[in-house]
């Protein structure tokens, strides 16, 4: 069996890369991808911790996360498309009508 620490290290790295994508990439689609990576980092942790769980809580939870993440990205894509039609951009630096004056 792989030591659990390896999984945690991988998931932490994935989490930080995902966060970096969310923080720095200006394209909304990149940001969505980054969020997916963060979700996957959590999934890796859950599955790794849940390997020996008789109630399989980890696996069930990550299945739930996958489903919810899919639903969330559906909504995100719907809004992205409307946004693109209205503003003709998906660059987060340009989507700044709402701000502190």
């Amino acid at each position: 069996m792989i030591p659990i620490d390896y999984y945690i290290i991988v998931s932490i790295l994935l989490f930080s890369i995902g966060s970096a994508i969310v923080f720095t990439r200006r394209n909304i689609l990149y940001v969505l991808m980054g969020i997916e990576l963060i979700f996957n980092a959590a999934n890796i942790n859950l599955v790794a911790f849940g390997q020996l769980d008789p109630y399989l809580n980890g696996q069930l939870f990550s299945m739930l996360i996958i489903t919810v993440a899919a639903a969330e990205s559906v909504v995100a894509l719907a809004i992205v498309i409307v946004l693109f039609k209205k503003l003709n951009t998906i660059d987060l630096n340009e989507i700044t009508q709402l701000k502190e004056k």
């Binding site: 966060s19 969310v22 923080f23 720095t24 200006r26 940001v31 987060l92 630096n93 989507i95 700044t96 009508q97 709402l98 701000k99 502190e100």
Partner: protein, 685 residues
Amino acid sequence: MNGLIPHIDVPLISADDISVLALTIFFMPIITFVLLFFTGKHILAPIRSWLATGVMAVMFVLSLYLHIHTEGEHISRWIWFEIGSLKFTASMLVNNYSTTMMVIATFVSLMVHLYSVEYMRERRNHSKYFPYLALFVSSMLGIILSDNLMITFIFWELVGLASFLLIGFWYEKDSSAAAAKKAFLFNKFADLAFVIAIMMLFANYGTAEISVLKEQVSITPLLNAGIFGMPILIGFMIWFATVGKSAQFPLYVWLPDAMAGPTPVSALLHAATMVAAGVFLLLKTSFFLGDWVGNLITIIGCITAVLAALQAMRTFDAKKVLAFSTVSQLGYMMMAVGVGANDAAFFHLATHAFFKACLFLSVGAVIHSMHHMQSHQFDHGQYKDLDTLDMRLMGGFRKKMPLTFVTYLISYAALIGLPFFSGFLSKDAILGALYDWATVSNTWTWFVVAAAFSTVAITAFYMTRQLIFIFFGEFRLLKTDMSYKQYFDHITESKWLINIPLIALATLSIWFFFSINPLHAQTGWWMKQSFVSGEHHVFHFFIPILASVLSIGAAVIAANRYKNVTVFVDRYVGLTKMFAQNFYIEKSMDVLLIRPVMLVAELCGSTDRWINHLIHGKAYFILVLAQCADVFDRWIIDGSVHLVSAIINGIGSFFRSYLKGNVQQYFYFTFIAFALILVWLAWYL
């Protein structure tokens, strides 16, 4: 909550006949208010005004009856609400003290109502005037009657609300709206202290019942409490609450501005009753004032008296002069409270209520006729912007309105403290008490006494100045504009509705209503009644003489100075400029209070900027460090420093636009703030 508030058994007492009568009087204006407020414009103006006035007359008669029949104390107390096992009570106290105050309040209100019937007849926005007055009177009665500080606080706030509505009554005028707001805010600031006082009371004694607290405090004398002991701090807080309402230094600046309301309102609120509420409350809770608080009250009262009097010397607004004089007289009352001469303070409160109301109403009559001139001219097709309150434009009303002149003269004499008038008696009582206090205290107390005496002189000076400006000489408005001549010729004495209150109030400014002996009040029935316990001072013969000499002398000087006033403008030079600027009190408040709040707001509103500055500052700091280090080792440190500053600048450029619309900056903000909180917590724990 039970752990927080100490448990105390407060006995419940059901109301007796006297209390029921007092309650009836208290509820009458509320009914008037509801009736008039919601019928609004649907009933005719005369009916409305006479209804309110009639109710007020009935209230006055009932109060008089109540006063005559009240002996001893009549407390009634009942449960207001309960939270768990904790009972909040409400209570009412009727005794000589409160009934006297009720008689004064209802009498002055009645006079003001009569006066207003005529005064407000042609004014716009009339329909809400009398309901507001009724609201004011009822909340004033609430303060007078309630024996519970929480209830008192509610009425205290209601008085503030009513005065806000009445000062801002002509809210179309900018000055009026601004004055209302100012009065409201200054009062609210002071009221915070009241809230704190109530909290402290609950935390320490578990109740806000004044009569219960009185027993509690007497069980543990103030001397054992230490300098910052709880009862003393509570006394301090209650006093600070009255600093707002009773217009003491440094919060008194709202009162002169509050003259923007209708003149009868000024007479009622800011001369006779509302500002007196603070002194009244302080007298009621005087058992809290121990140790250093009394001295503080005296000193602040003294400062208030002198400063306001000085400002009155250089004001040209006829009503503002009276307003400053009110502030100054309130300072006297506070001094008396501070030295423990409670009877003298209450005595002066009573006499002041009558003669100051009379002064206001007399000046109001003059202003009323000035208004008439303006509106007449308007009717003839000319509109000129005329400051009807400016004393420099008045003059010569002595012959046009002799009755008003006489009433003004009587109340003037009372205010500056000439013998045979009520002010003489009460001022003498206060000055005597101050003198007695000074003889047993430190040397610095003589400064207070000296200031009090010099304020007598200043008072005489500015009142004489106003007298001459308004009633003597010739009509100075004509010097700038002859077109007023025809209207001035037609000015006559006011209607009787205005004159009756003037006469009544002026009559009450004469000595024999308070004491048979015109020179000495100690033997008079008023002081013998001893409404609030206090020390009686020994009669010093030279004090009234000195005061009279001072005031007569100052009056003569002023009369000489302004006898031949034809020049239009007094110049503001040197010190007097400071008077005109309100002693920079408002400016300093702006700097001390408002600016910092706005600064914090700015800081929070633009977190990015200061984080950015911080980062920049750090970067510069590192750069400077690098320059120093250069001398030793240019090649090693330089590169790393540049790297650090580049990184910091890079992050900084992202922070520049926190809340500037880019959602990724929000992420950064959240992340860094969250991380900082967690790191700080790790360090803290």
